[in-house]
Subunit: 106 residues, 3 copies
């Protein structure tokens, strides 16, 4: 399978979510970002279980943009090791997938 | 990999989300729909950055139903180019995956 | 493609979501869980369309842990046939993917 598009998931403190979403769209790293305003996050950090409220970003983009997106988000994200994970898109509305590429100038 | 099931993501104005979810389940285009009531969406449209509140539908269905789901949703969705994207399912609770097919009459 | 990490989606009644998320992290079945507090779920059950409010868990874990996660969640989940589905991760922040494995003792 030759993956062309991905949904990228990123978590971030709730007061920074919209700002990062704007940054991603303005810099054409993603064509569309959905921000789930508040999720409860539970995870291991330095041997303890931590619980936080975070925003969850879901970014629709081209696989061609993934490396640049990861690099740019790491440079502006407040965490040392931010969650940035890409899920492959198997198919969908072909007009929408074309719109992703057009929006990104590809 | 021979993908059999998918999670389909669709965004829609917040006042139309439950109606579309009902339509999808009633017409056996998906076995189960989760509706995230409100997400903030940021995206390019005709050269400008737009910001909207939308509902996000997450539809659990069979890959066999994907083409019909896309066609039907495009015919009832208020947008010209609705987001309809399918993420492949790698595995899970086998009873649940069988239940998806049973619910869809496959 | 040799998939190494997955995002596992699980739905559960809203008053049990955080408890299950804690159980998963404490038992190192997942490195990080995001809980979307409330989604509207519409689905077929025994010939009728049901509507419920549920929490949605999104678990970041290694594919090596998937079978154990499914088995353990089935043993504590209140439903007969719980939704447990795994979406493959294509790539992302390599430090984060390594952190998943480290957190799980892999």
């Amino acid at each position: 399978m030759d993956w062309k598009h991905v949904v990228v998931l990123i978590t971030i403190p709730t007061d920074k979510g919209l700002e990062l979403a704007d940054y991603i769209v303005k810099n054409k790293l993603g064509a569309c970002v959905n921000v789930v305003p508040e999720v409860n996050s539970i995870y291991w950090w330095k041997g303890n279980i931590e619980r936080d409220k975070e925003s969850l970003l879901m970014i629709k983009t081209s696989l061609q943009k993934l490396e640049e997106l990861i690099k740019e988000v790491k440079s502006v994200h407040p965490y040392t090791v931010p969650e940035i994970i890409a899920l492959p898109i198997l198919g969908g509305n072909e007009d929408y997938l074309r719109w992703i590429d057009d929006s990104l100038g590809l």
